[in-house]
């Protein structure tokens, strides 16, 4: 028994005009200051006002949103009493908006208490609209979210099946102005979602097709979107791919590129997509035997060479080659982290990864020793051979 959860997805050029048809009285837009400065929040407000809604904007979401920020956002929501929470931004905004929405609906619970085991009974006060402005997070279309516990420098992977958007508006216009580095970081995030979603221990018939389609789109369009941000076809396909991957892995979970990436990201403040993307080839190599059939299927789809190399090795090589094309780091050393600093943090890196929820959904679950080896191999860029 398992569930497939999805918002209504409105996608493609001018998808944002769907907001004109929303019914209600008040909406709270959750966003960050960049979205305000770029005029995106104003545009969303305009559409909501066409629909007859009054709006307020909460634009204090930072990168890697903290528990304090979401509590502040929930206070704003409680005094404004919106019927719609509208998340406009990248992954951090999506994640913060989900937590703000839950706390607005259920003021008595703490953000870190949100869990997949207990029903929340949301949608008594408001519903959620997500409008992603990066092509990677997937948080717009799934029920997971990550908050940062600043006291412990630790990321908390949280989720509940009810915490998904009612409507996801996937309009490529909002991602069109991403700079190349952000395009690359977020694109690698989407690729990691798609590959891990297809190979996790919880993969399933409903998510498989979504993950495969996303992998195909990302390999084809990410280098184009990175090289030429004005390539509107590449932008649109990547925007779709990110949400498709989000929907895919959101229903089948991820694996150890995520647990290791979360850990590295939290301790060294590496952007999420860059961190998980860096670990993806190592995660593929680590699960080469146990997920051999799945990697073969992906390799076949991408027409990769599998006669002289195993499908996993070939896929890991293709991921590295794509990462190289878009100037992404291939090893931890490339991030400018000194060996001394890495070595000092290694016990914490291992322990955080080991405790991460994505560890247990991996097809091959690493032991503590294997995690340590994985980090060491990823530091030097060595092919995983254990």
């Amino acid at each position: 028994m398992w569930y497939f959860v999805s918002p209504d997805v409105v996608f493609g050029e001018d998808a944002i005009s769907h907001l004109d048809e929303i019914t209600g009285k008040k909406a709270l837009i959750i966003t960050d200051i960049n979205m305000v400065n770029m005029g995106f929040s104003e545009e969303v407000k305009k559409h909501l006002s066409t629909a007859g809604l009054e709006c307020q904007v909460f634009d204090s979401v930072e990168s890697e949103p903290s528990i304090a920020t979401v509590k502040k956002g929930a206070e704003v929501a409680s005094s404004y009493r919106p019927e719609w929470i509208v998340a406009l931004g990248g992954g951090s905004v999506m994640d913060a908006a989900k937590a703000i929405w839950v706390l607005y609906e259920k003021p008595d619970i703490q953000p870190e208490e949100i869990n997949p085991f207990e029903p929340l009974q949301l949608r008594q006060k408001a519903r959620l609209i997500t409008i992603p402005t990066t092509s990677g997070t997937g948080s717009d279309s799934n029920w997971g979210f990550v908050l940062t516990d600043t006291s412990e420098s630790r990321k908390l992977g949280l989720g509940c099946r009810e915490v998904h958007a009612d409507i996801a508006i996937v309009d490529p216009k909002f991602a069109a102005k991403m700079p190349p580095e952000l395009t690359a970081d977020t694109g690698m995030d989407a690729l990691t979602h798609a590959i891990e979603g297809y190979t996790s221990g919880w993969k399933n018939d409903f998510s498989d097709g979504l993950c495969l389609k996303a992998i195909q789109l990302i390999f084809k369009y990410l280098p184009r979107a990175y090289r030429d941000g004005t390539d509107s076809e590449a932008r649109e396909k990547m925007h779709n791919a990110a949400s498709i991957a989000g929907l895919g892995f959101g229903n089948s979970m991820a694996s150890i590129a995520h647990s290791t990436g979360h850990s590295l990201g939290a301790l060294f403040h590496i952007p999420h997509g860059r961190a998980v993307g860096l670990f993806l080839p190592y995660a593929i190599e680590f699960a080469a035997d146990i997920s051999a059939t799945n990697y073969k299927e992906i390799a076949h789809l991408l027409e990769l060479e599998t006669e002289r190399l195993s499908a996993a090795a070939s896929l890991a090589r293709a991921v590295k080659s794509l990462a190289q094309d878009i100037n992404q780091p291939l090893k931890i050393k490339d991030l400018g982290i000194s060996y001394d600093s890495f070595k000092l943090s290694l016990p914490k890196l291992v322990s955080y990864a080991d405790m991460d929820t994505q560890t247990v959904t991996a097809a091959r679950v690493p032991t503590i020793d294997e995690y340590e080896k994985l980090f060491r191999y990823a530091y030097d860029g060595k092919t995983v051979d254990f």
Binding site: M1, F117, T357, T359, V360, T361, I368
Partner: protein, 136 residues
């Protein structure tokens, strides 16, 4: 020789497996908390069975069948019908997935459980090592 489930002999065999397992010791090294695993009657199992386990820093300090639910006051209670426990023990139902889909019901500090998902996985891995005879 398969051990009858649910029985005191079975939970003691699981305790032995846990205390032999390095993987469990590593995964649960920070864990402090005791459990009731409650097997609800189903089919030929006519009475509820309550397993008590005291799990502490990667070690199982005690394990036994408890006759009266009031006998102890563990931090966590997980309950499910016999058929669901069987699926967990035979690794046909992932315990975390079982909890998420509420096929297994949990009472206790959920935040604490969410910080130790791997310990749950290793505990189930140890269950599979106990040769088990399930009632029909």
């Amino acid at each position: 020789m398969p051990i009858k489930f649910p029985s005191d002999e079975w939970i003691k065999a699981l305790m032995q497996e846990l205390n032999k397992s390095q993987a469990y010791r590593d995964a649960a090294k920070n864990w402090e908390g005791d459990f009731y695993f409650i097997v609800e009657p189903e089919g030929s199992l006519k009475e509820q069975t309550i397993f008590y386990m005291d799990l502490w820093h990667g070690e199982c300090r005690s394990a036994s069948i408890v006759k009266d639910e009031k006998e102890k006051n563990p931090e966590f209670r997980i309950w499910a019908p016999l058929s669901k426990w069987r699926r967990v023990i035979e690794k046909k139902l992932d315990p975390i997935q079982g909890l998420v889909t509420r096929q297994l019901k949990l009472k206790g500090n959920l935040m604490k459980i969410m910080k130790a998902p791997k310990a749950a996985l290793e505990l189930v891995n140890c269950c599979t090592l106990v040769p088990t005879d399930f009632p029909e």
